[in-house]
């Protein structure tokens, strides 16, 4: 699943997209990783080649699957909306990643629970609906925001569960989830400057979180 379409693609030889590179920095070498909605397998190939990670991806699109198989990525064709119980037992991964996919799932809260059932830690990235550009469109123009990160119209968007940084953090609190790390990047996936880090919910375009079960 890649709700942002071509946006996710990384040309060969290019550096890893910044949000993926942040995720890669958060992951320990030799660990075991599950990537939910792994797209064309770019992140998993990177983690395998640079960090000797044992990785598995879940993906629904036949075209992405073909790309993954070409990269020799471990990929399982499955619909995230059916949950993970068909395949994965409790605590079987070090990290479960969901990059730019959470907002397109049917029940994000249940999926986050599943992530922490299967993995010790979860990592998600999602577009921030409270970014000032989105706020302007809704607040001043009175229309649903269409931005570089959210290129679809309200009627054809796959992103049915958009949220903001604040929303996500409220959900974590309710589900007894501890946030271990948070960062934001702009639409070209560059790391934020000091101002963006000061006002992430206003200035951050893409949020990246690492979290675990509260102990």
């Amino acid at each position: 699943m890649s709700p942002l379409g071509e946006h996710l693609a990384v040309a060969e030889g290019e550096d890893l997209r910044a949000d993926l590179s942040i995720i890669a920095d958060w992951i320990k070498a030799d660990s075991k990783v599950l990537d939910l909605g792994c797209g064309d397998g770019t992140l998993l190939a990177y983690l395998r080649d640079r960090l000797n990670v044992l990785g598995y991806g879940l993906e629904i699109s036949p075209f992405n699957i073909e790309d993954c198989v070409e990269k020799n990525i471990n990929v399982i064709q499955a619909d995230l909306n059916n949950g993970l119980k068909d395949y994965f037992s409790d605590n079987s991964f070090d990290y479960v990643i969901m990059s730019q996919t959470l907002q397109a799932t049917e029940q994000p809260d249940l999926l986050i629970e599943e992530m922490l059932r299967v993995g010790k830690e979860g990592i998600v990235t999602f577009p921030n609906m409270a970014h000032w550009r989105a706020r302007l469109q809704l607040g001043l123009k009175g229309v649903m925001p269409v931005t570089k990160n959210l290129p679809n119209e309200w009627f054809n968007t796959p992103n049915v569960h958009l949220c903001t940084l604040n929303d996500f953090e409220v959900l974590c609190k309710r589900h007894d989830i501890e946030i271990l790390q948070r960062t934001v990047v702009d639409h070209s996936h560059r790391k934020g400057n000091w101002l963006m880090n000061l006002l992430p919910n206003l200035l951050g375009e893409i949020a990246i979180y690492r979290f675990c079960r509260n102990t």
Binding site: P62, I65, V69, E70, I73, V75, Q77, Y87, F88, S92
Partner: protein
Amino acid sequence: MPETIADDSVGIVETQIIHFSEALTLECGKTLAEYDIAYETYGELNADASNAVLICHALSGDQHAAGYLSMDDKKAGWWDSAIGPGKAIDTRHFFVVSINNLGGCKGSSGPNTINPETGRYWGPDFPIVTVKDWTLCQYHFMKAINIDHWCAVIGGSLGGMQVLQWTIDYPELIRNAVVIAAAPKLSAQNIAFNEVARQSIMSDPDFCDGHYLEKNTVPRRGLMLARMLGHITYLSDDAMRNKFGRELREGKLNFGFDVDFQVESYLRYQGRSFVDRFDANTYLLMTKTLDYFDPASEYGDDLARALSQTSAHFLVISFTSDWRFAPERSREIVKALLQAEKQLSYIEIEANQGHDAFLIPIPHYMNVFASHMKTIAGALS
């Protein structure tokens, strides 16, 4: 007859037979003092013998997987869509070996061959063989043709089960496993269908307790019925609807018990043509082999444990409309492989052809399969 042979065909092929004179002890406790194995090969073995691929056939398959036996041959081998130069199993890169399973009826020792001890047809006395017996037999076979490991073992349906058994019995001799439209064991419903097939064969008066060959007869009606039943389970409801609907053969109802609908005509044709090419005792035997298959049973019913020893890289494929070995059954295999932390990919191909889809060159299926085989070829020394 193939008027011309296509560029991506392996061309004219020949079945060969190896005679084994060393005894083979089977799981049932019986021993075959000697036996024959019929096989075909396509492509060339490379210098370090690292590119050998074993093809495992399904219930009614045989060693003739690709190409034509002569210029008069009407049909190509059963998996010609996947084997050949430029096809998914690319014979420009791989040395492909296809074996007729022991107990088969196309040249390997089986019920329709002569028991050397009695000089008569084996018939119903040919021992019941298991998938494990097959892998043992194939192990001896690979030694005989000087191959010390398979770069891939590939099969669909019952053939896919053999692939699983290979990774369990000889985990170090197989680098890649492609398991298509298979299951880790049969369900009660699968066994029930097999039992009806067997009963239809055995209740045919011409079955003669399995000694029909000696009496110069064949249980035609029974075998035909068994095949008709089997064929229903190979197709999906959708596929049948698309192919036949309620189309009438003569454009009107005949108010009798002969063929009214096209689907009846089709099944009768499939049944009849099967009788001419297959042996009833082999059909009985192969359905039993299927029923008995349950490799996890030797490992405390833990499939993950059964698969734990192999370092093979797996590709598991299922088809959405397959209800004989539905995607759920492949997912059981995938779950076990994940538990055992194996390298694997699992693809569910959107297809409405039912179980038979595994023989059909559906584009997404062939693309994934070919990509996977390319990575295997790329890793060859």
